[in-house]
Each structure stands twice: as structure tokens, then as C-alpha cells.
Amino acid sequence: MTAIPFPDEPRRRGTNWEKWGWIYMRISGVVLVVLVFGHLFVNLMVGEGVKAIDFGFVGGKWADPFWQWWDVTMLWLALIHGANGMRTVVNDYTKPGTVQRILKGALLASVVVLIVLGTLVVFTFEPCPAGSPADLLPSFCAA
């Protein structure tokens, strides 16, 4: 058997974005398993689960930088992971052209908007807004 010679293709220059996308999906995927499972366990399994979630519950969590960073990391990793997955789906079911560009543009725009929005919400959150009834707020607001 003779080895098949490599074709004389010119070496591609620049960053191989598809390769880095492939690597990103795997690294972010592993981290997201931990972050999302932790998120689901604390919010749905502990105590009364979904019935306990209200403004006070969120305020109590985000009073701790640990949960702020947990949620912001999850926000960035999950949105980029999801959008890149949706990009693959768009590539599979559309031909290059206007429709494909519009769909990918919509993905990019929604992800950028939601990452900015979500990050601002987590870090500018006011757990004890003035004028709100105390029974809607985290217990530490009264102190």
C-alpha cells in the first residue's frame, strides 16, 4: 500500500475559528454541567423548591458574591454555548445567503443584548429598593 500524498493546498493563514468553537463547546459544556446542575439543585430541590423562589430568594442569593459570579459565569458560558450550537443548526438547514445572514445576525444580536442585560442585572441589583413593602424583600433589609 502506498500512502496517499497530501494535496498541495496552500496552508491556511489566521485563526481556525471552527476549531476553537469546537474546543469551546467541550470546555464550556463540562463547566456548565457543574454550574447548571448546582443552579437546579439549589433552586428546585432544596427546601420548597420552585415554590420558594421570589424576589426575596433572589436577593438573598445575590447578596453573596459567590452566587453573583456563579450566575454571571453561567450566563456568559451558556449563552455563547447555546448561540454557537444554534449557529451549527442554522448552517445545517440553510444555504449561504440572506436568510442565513439574518438568522446568524439575530443570534449574535440577542446573545450580545442578553449578556449585557444579565451582567448588569446581577451586578447592579438592589436587594432593598426604597418604598417596597418589607414582606417582599429579603429578611436582611429590615436590619
Binding site: 420548597e48 436577593g59 448561540a83 450550537g85 443548526v89 447592579t124 424583600l137
Partner: protein, 139 residues
């Protein structure tokens, strides 16, 4: 219709030539891919909504509580079981994909790994579903 007559009308295809009998189509690998794609798209659209509803904490406690209250209704409670089921499958099957990519043993045993994913999914859902539904329906 008698079997002999059916054979004269439709050309019978030997089992090994049917698409379902090939290495990929209709087999574990295909279903792993199909379920990964469907659950991924579903989770993505939920994520978009979930970030927007959580952002309501920046509007007012009343606005957030009103919307999050709809997550605690029986119908949404059942929807959360479906959502968690999709996430747990996507997570375990994603780990399977990584193992198949990087580990020769896993590449050879990708069918077994698919059934391990299904088994782990059943175990996690048996743990989650009763507890969640009790929370949704009993308080």
C-alpha cells in the same frame, strides 16, 4: 392479505440493506444526535426567556414575583420536568460526546455509552420528578 401475495406486490428488502440496519441510521448514534439537537434548541429558547424574566428583579419586587409566580403553577411545573429532563439528557450526552472524541475505548463503546446516558437520565429523573411535583402540587 396473505404473506405470499404481499411479497409479489412489494419487493422485500433484506434486513441488512435497510437504512435502519446500517451503522448509524436508526441506531444509538443517530438518536444521540437527534436528541442532543432537539434538547439543545429547546434549552436555548428557554434560556432567552429565563434571562428576561430574571431581569425583572431590576424593575420591582412586584413585577418579578408576578412573573415567577407563573413558574409555580401546575402546568409550568410539568413543563419544568420536561425542561430538567432536556437539560439532564443534554448534559450527560454531551459528556458522552466528549468521551467518544478523546478516548479510544469510548469511541469503540459509543453504543453502550448511549445506554449508560439513558440509564443515568432515568435515575436522575426518578430523584427529581417526585420531589419537584410534590413541591408544585402540595404547597
Amino acid at each position: 392479505m396473505p404473506d405470499s401475495q404481499a411479497r409479489t406486490l412489494t419487493a422485500p428488502t433484506p434486513a441488512k440493506e435497510r437504512p435502519g440496519g446500517t451503522l448509524y441510521r436508526g441506531r444509538e448514534g443517530m438518536w444521540s444526535w437527534v436528541l442532543h439537537r432537539i434538547t439543545g434548541v429547546a434549552i436555548f429558547f428557554f434560556l432567552l426567556v429565563h434571562i428576561l424574566d430574571t431581569a425583572l428583579v431590576r424593575v420591582s419586587p412586584e413585577a418579578y414575583n408576578a412573573v415567577i409566580g407563573t413558574y409555580q403553577t401546575p402546568i409550568m411545573g410539568l413543563g419544568e420536568v420536561a425542561l430538567v429532563g432536556a437539560i439532564v439528557f443534554h448534559a450527560f450526552n454531551g459528556i458522552r460526546v466528549i468521551l467518544v472524541d478523546f478516548w479510544a475505548w469510548a469511541t469503540r463503546h459509543q453504543k453502550l455509552l448511549f445506554w449508560i446516558v439513558i440509564g443515568l437520565w432515568v435515575i436522575v429523573m426518578l430523584g427529581f420528578t417526585p420531589r419537584h411535583l410534590i413541591n408544585v402540587f402540595s404547597h
